[in-house]
Amino acid sequence: MAEEKKLFKVTIDNITIEVEPGTTVLNAARKIGGDVTPPAMCYYSKLQGSGGKCRTCLVEVAAGSAADPRPMPKLVASCRTNVMDGMVVKNITSDKVTDARNGVVEFLLINHPLDCPICDQAGECHLQDLGYEHGKEGTRYEFKRRTFEKEDIGPYIQLHMTRCILCYRCTYVADQLTDKRVHGILDRGDHAEISTYISKAIDNDFSGNMIDVCPVGALTDKTFRFKNRVWFTKPVDAHRNCDKCCGKVTLWQRGDEVLRVTARKDEWGEVQNYDGKPGWICNDCRFHKKKSSDWVIEGLTNINRHSVIGQGKYPGLVIPKETIAEVMHGRDPKLLMDIHDISDVNDPSVDLSLIEGPATSKTFEKNEQ
């Protein structure tokens, strides 16, 4: 008789979910989705041992478990903390978490060059998202930002050490995907850097995946360098028969021209799984198959609505379901004031470019009379 697996009940921000034992708090939160999910800059579910370093996913554990309901004294990294039965976790409902996360974002940004206007990662950068959601508008840092000597790590990958947030993901990729790691973290503290110790090119067949896992623009694709902004490109899903990898990729096109090839990513910015295995792609597919004729195109990639790629009138946007009707049981929401007929600006049927001038206080006086 198959033994029934006991599931653990965990409550995150007052939403209760049942997950398998051994799940981390972060993965449980990802099952719920939405705002409840803590951001993660260093954790990568497909890389063993990753996580725990960036501290953006800190959460408060208000009750350790049903058996031992004491709260945990410190905030814990949700990516490396396993759920217990009856655990109560506070993420966005905890002021302590919000405060700590603001701090972490500030720490990550004080030495970041903020060169987004010339960075190829801009538009799909996790640090941009994080800064947008949890950062402050100004910086309190008044010193020179950290710089490094430039290091050439080969013909395909461009290393910008100043942008690095030391998430260690690329070293895990090199450890777990390639047979020999030739790069790593040198030095320590705020002068630690990603580098190859003896100036050596990273030339392994799967090394290109470092670009995909890099949450910021520290590792970018040299073949795509300065070619285009991501929000001007059109991502399409495509595949080819490859004897080295799964061959399932996203092509970033402008017209018919293939500007860049990346692995397909899921909603958390991680490489998608195929047949239970992560869909890493090989360097051949990534760097050398740059013609549309190399690929069988499947269709537009689904892109989340909040992505900046949506700005370019991209048709493949995933637009969330409107839930207001469901919540209101079919009734229309009651409007406190119908602003549509007060001013032309608020009237959805009026094309704004046709209005003579912006609404002023006089516009409102006229309507009241």
Binding site: K53, K74, G189, D190, A192
Partner: protein, 452 residues
């Protein structure tokens, strides 16, 4: 004159050598433990003694040993943490340099209690001459049958290896130490799992400080109950204090944990008072990472009691008005010292030693150092003090290992108790370059807070 358990024979000539050490009664504890006691009985004695970890955190050693997982067919390890890198702490160096056999003896006894057949001493790279001393002691012990296979015919095997670190403060953190011992980059691991379950090479491991292991020798010799009679309350036994700074007699002192801080600083038996007849301004009682205390709070607690050299009394009042015993690095500052400069020096140290793994510590320590440098050199702003406070608050408790806390506490305590001095540095930048703030009111008797 207090009783000495660890250092009583240290003045004997050539105690460093096996023959002299044995003649003075050395290795009795190994004989006693291996021949007459079971491993659990040794652990039980340590529990009874109330011995607390001497490395800084003060966790009860017996309890730590009790947590050690004992799965069958899996080796267990004892690792001695001799990576003594805390500024102001040099007690283990003294112990290992002058009486190395005490550590070896303690290790054999502890290895027996824990069932460790391979024990390691992880020593900081800067102590390279001590490595030779320890290796000589190990060879001597081995030649005389105290190490190797079938020790004293009891069937217990034990080998001790000395491993040199490469000079990183972070490798004194137990999980970083284990990583380094395995040959990896010395980054602290994320806990749990704790080393008692998954430590060195994923096997159950106990990591103890040099002094803790050395203290096992008198505990086994005289019995745990006898050891627990020394000291006050939960602070049992003797503690090595390495005193430095502006005092007349710097050095390592073994104290019974029942004397007052005042006695320790001013009595001729210990520090012998403040050097050059100056006045006591502040003191860091337990190594650079514990909060600094001004003279008035150091000598008496906020309750108005005399502060004693015990774990509890030094921590009395929490971080608001107290500090910690830490690793026993007693740093005394007189009225000619500048607290801002001192805090900057510590911040610089922690920036340099942060491993760079987690962001708050990596970025925050460097930021604090730069702000403190600005204040020290007369370029500070009043808002910088609040900014410093905010940075340290956001580092503390949000990092993987305690180095983040250790970097935040000195800054927090300096601002908490010496804010006037920081403000003076900012409002009188030119004055601050020429002279120090002096003693100010930091030694004034405090009004005793009356409990409600």
């Amino acid at each position: 004159m207090g009783r000495k358990l660890l250092l009583d024979k240290i003045k004997v000539e050539n105690i460093r050598l096996y023959d002299v050490y044995r003649r003075e009664g050395g290795y009795r504890s190994v004989e006693r433990a291996l021949k007459t006691m079971t491993p659990d009985a040794v652990t039980e004695e340590v529990k009874k003694s109330g011995l607390r970890g001497r490395g800084g955190a003060g966790f009860p050693t017996g309890m730590k040993w009790g947590f050690l997982a004992k799965p069958a067919e899996v080796p267990r390890y004892l690792v001695v943490n001799a990576d003594e890198s805390e500024p102001g702490t040099f007690k283990d160096r003294y112990l290992m340099e002058f009486i190395p056999h005490l550590l070896i003896e303690g290790m054999i006894t502890s290895s027996y209690a824990l069932g460790s057949n391979r024990s390691y001493i992880y020593i900081r790279g800067e102590y390279e001459w001590i490595v030779d001393i320890l290796e000589q002691a190990i060879t001597e012990a081995k030649n005389n049958g105290w190490l190797g296979k079938n020790i004293l015919g009891t069937g217990f095997d034990c080998e001790i290896y000395v491993h040199r670190g490469a000079g990183a403060y972070i490798c004194g953190e137990e999980t970083a130490l284990l990583e380094s011992l395995e040959g990896k980059r010395g980054n602290p691991r994320i806990k749990p799992p704790f080393p008692a379950v998954k430590g060195l090479y994923d096997c159950p491991t106990v990591v103890n400080n040099v002094e803790t292991i050395a203290a096992v020798v008198p505990i086994v010799n005289d019995g745990g109950t006898e050891y627990a009679k020394i000291g006050i309350g939960k602070s049992t036994g003797t503690k090595l204090i390495s005193a430095c700074g502006n005092i007349n007699k710097q050095g390592v002192y073994e104290i019974e944990m029942n004397i007052s801080v005042e006695e320790f600083i001013y009595s001729d038996e210990y520090c012998g008072g403040i050097a050059k007849g100056r006045k006591l301004k502040a003191c860091i009682p337990g190594g650079s990472s514990v909060p600094i205390l001004p003279a008035n709070l150091l000598l008496t607690t906020a309750k108005g009691e005399k502060r004693l050299m015990t774990y509890e009394s030094l921590a009395d009042g929490g971080f608001a008005t107290g500090s910690m015993m830490g690793s026993g690095g007693f740093i005394v500052l007189d009225d000619s010292q500048c607290v801002v400069r001192h805090t900057y020096t510590l911040a610089r140290f922690y920036r340099h030693e942060s491993c760079g793994q987690c962001s708050p510590c990596r970025e925050g320590t460097g930021w604090m150092e730069k702000i403190l440098w600005n204040i020290e050199t007369g370029k500070g702003k009043m808002s910088d003090i609040d900014l410093l406070w905010d940075i340290q608050r956001k580092i503390e408790g949000n990092t993987i290992c305690p180095l983040g806390d250790a970097a935040a506490w000195p800054v927090a305590a300096a601002i908490r108790h010496f804010r006037d001095e920081f403000e003076w540095h900012i409002t009188n930048p030119e004055d601050a370059q020429r002279r120090n703030f002096g003693l100010a009111h930091y030694a004034d008797p405090l009004k005793v807070a009356t409990p409600a």
